[in-house]
């Protein structure tokens, strides 16, 4: 039997968070963590968590699984369970709304700061703005982010300064538009990043790289932003 520990907190009835211990029989199958959560919820409907696509595309079910952030739907028991224990907690550093559901407002506020949309001051062409295959290739490893917040909520710099440090997810998106040949707002974008918090709170510990369920590398993108800032100012 798998020992499952779940972080539970209902602000309407609980004074403080508590841990629910559940014995779970996986029937010898290598289930995904989300399957375990769904089956526990079938027994106890008061358990709250977010989920949608259940295949690692929507980014809704980011949780902390045995101490490491990840998407419950694509994390198999075999890759996370040690000593028959499965501990599921909400993403760290964000306020808990209920059980495993966190308030993502701070995360989205930082995302909004980087103006994650194409800005181009030139007149739009008749059909579309073209890119060479090489220019398009620069966006690989940047555009795939699904905003699950696993990276930013595993970053101590984001824990301590979530209102000032943009965080790995936001910065990855920031570089996605800085690197886009069709975007002409590079200077305005960079001028908003040259403070001691927005980018430079990153100390390169790469927790973000270690947890990204899409295998992206925010630390590398942050390094590129730093180089752009350096080239512009030195």
């Amino acid at each position: 039997m798998l020992q499952v520990s779940l972080y539970r907190y209902n602000p309407e009835t609980d004074q403080e968070p508590w841990t629910q211990e559940v014995e779970f029989d996986s029937g010898g199958k290598d289930l995904m963590v989300l399957d375990v959560m769904e089956q526990i919820k079938a027994q106890d409907p008061t358990l709250a968590f977010r989920r949608s696509c259940r295949e690692g595309v929507c980014g809704s079910d980011g949780v902390n699984i045995n101490g490491k952030n990840g998407l419950a739907c694509i994390t198999a028991l075999s890759e996370t369970v040690r000593d028959n224990k499965l501990v599921i907690r909400p993403l760290p550093g964000l306020p808990v709304v209920r059980d495993l559901v966190v308030d993502m407002s701070m995360f989205y506020d930082q995302y909004e700061k980087v103006e994650p949309y194409l800005q181009n001051s030139s007149a739009p062409p008749a059909i579309e703005r073209l890119q060479s295959p090489e220019e398009r290739a620069k966006l690989d490893g940047l555009y795939e982010c699904i905003l699950c917040a696993c990276c930013s909520t595993s970053c101590p710099s984001f824990w301590w300064n979530p209102d000032r440090f943009i965080g790995p997810a936001g910065l990855l998106q920031s570089y996605r538009f800085l690197a886009d040949s069709r975007d002409t707002a590079t200077e305005q974008r960079l001028s908003k990043l040259d403070d001691p918090y927005s980018v430079f709170r990153c100390h390169g510990i790469q927790n973000c790289v270690g947890v990204c369920p899409k295998g992206l590398n925010p630390t590398k993108a942050i390094g590129h932003i730093r180089n752009l800032l350096l080239e512009r100012a030195i």
Partner: protein
């Protein structure tokens, strides 16, 4: 853009660059000192070494690098852990006091260092 007036150079980029450059100077200095000590020193050779102007400039450079490096590093640590976010309104006051303490300590080390380097 987040404003912060207690950092070394006001800009994140300049702080970042100063921290890297000062780290390289400190590394070079301590490797050099380790090499000198490793080769064996006595009082006369040590005094001879430090009586040369280039060594005094090198040492002063290392000392100033230490001050810059420590200022930036301590600011980063303090603005992570000693903040209004974690400690309430008193957090900002406490951080400022600690930072002034760091500044006075570093200033003392620099002046004292100059006294040692050119005083003997």
């Amino acid at each position: 853009m987040v404003t912060a007036i207690t950092t070394m150079g006001r800009s994140g980029l300049s702080d970042w660059l100063m921290q890297r450059v000062s780290a390289v100077i400190l590394l070079a200095y301590f490797l050099f000192i380790a090499w000198v000590v490793g080769n064996g020193v006595d009082y006369d050779s040590w005094k001879m070494l430090f009586s040369q102007t280039w060594m005094r400039i090198f040492s002063l450079g290392a000392l100033l690098s230490l001050a810059v490096h420590a200022w930036i590093g301590m600011w980063v640590v303090l603005s992570d852990y000693v903040t209004a976010r974690l400690l309430g309104a008193a957090g900002n006051v406490l951080r400022f006091v600690l930072q002034v303490g760091c500044a006075i300590t570093l200033f003392t080390y620099v002046v004292w260092g100059i006294q040692i380097l050119w005083g003997y």
